[in-house]
Assembly symmetry: C2
Homo-oligomer: 178 residues x 2
DNA sequence: CGCCTGGCTTTGGTTCTGCCAAGTCAGCGT
DNA sequence: ACGCTGACTTGGCAGAACCAAAGCCAGGCG
């Protein structure tokens, strides 16, 4: 009827509890709205406490809490700086761990642009700075093939052995909405 | 010092409030943990109420609420089915809107696999079913170039006119963590 | 008809996330 | 010495998200 279904050894979905799932773990770290939006502002170049609080439109208390958590989790680093005639303060910079989360936010933005935006394409277009063309997130395999959403397989890495399965392609044409 | 900063006309970040931001809008729809995890199970082939509730490990009440919301938002469709000797029930299937969110979850999973998993590579590996190679999420432009995280530009689509800017590449080698 | 089952809904309570307002604290400028 | 400012912290509270347990209801089966 629609898109993707598990097949093969892993089709007994109940045999592999999702407690170790990386999606769940990622959500433990950046699962709140304010954490995601603070990361967004970090990509847009925010560094200082006041910038984050104002641009994300959250209170000092929330900004302080999220910045501390994100720093502890390793997505941001905190380093002192001093402007002329000002006392020492701290600024927050993306670590590589934080930078590597960017594709997730871009994928979310791409999806929002497509389905939720007032204007087609969304309010902002990200481009490849070398050639000016708009960018998009997509999926490829290590061999370099483009992977359609219906061509995904799964392999479980149980400690030691391995089980393989597939996300079988099914009819993507039907059931566009209702 | 680290990775990415806004440059150009948009560097005055305060001039374009983020209220229309597609990331924010996407989070309004799938911003809760349970919504994300229900989508995960939908990709793994769950269709029925009880499957979602059990596999996501949430209560009936939450499952019912999220399934209703996701259906209303258009990510899932609800259709009747009947098994032999059973009464009519409803099952939930991914719409194309729901399917198109998959890259966002994959990006989150890829990040979690890299930074948060107990075992390297995470508990699950997704593969290209045609060739068996592991898949990854990445960014390309419409011209087909691979786009590194430091090569991103931004263009604001204000209603009518356009302003352009760039996310300037800066030294990704420094500041890996602290 | 009356029981049982699965899909929901309701009720009541806890935790999390956020707001607002007030307080602290370091250090620069006067 | 004093005040001011920016970066937090603290306290009190509303609302969302969740859980556990109980109730409800349609309909197939005895």
């Amino acid at each position: 009827m629609e898109s993707i279904t598990l097949r093969g050894k892993l089709s007994d979905r109940d045999s592999w509890p999702a407690t170790r799932c990386s999606i769940g773990k990622a959500l433990d770290v950046v699962g709140t709205r304010s954490a995601m939006l603070i990361m967004r502002e970090a990509y847009y170049g925010a560094h200082r406490f006041e910038e984050f609080a104002r641009r994300v439109n959250i209170t000092d208390a929330v900004a302080a809490a999220r910045l501390r958590e994100l720093t502890e989790a390793g997505l941001l680093s905190r380093s002192p700086y001093q402007e002329a005639g000002q006392r020492t303060r701290h600024e927050y910079h993306l670590t590589t761990m934080g930078t590597d989360l960017l594709p997730a936010l871009l994928a979310l933005m791409q999806w929002g642009d497509r389905y939720l935006a007032e204007q087609p394409g969304g309010p902002l277009t990200l481009t490849h700075v070398d050639c000016g063309e708009p960018i998009h997130v997509d999926i490829r395999c290590a061999a370099g093939h483009d992977v359609e959403l219906g061509e995904l397989g799964v392999r479980a890495n149980r400690r030691g052995r391995r089980a393989t399965s597939s996300l079988a392609p099914v009819d993507l044409s039907a059931n566009p909405r209702r």
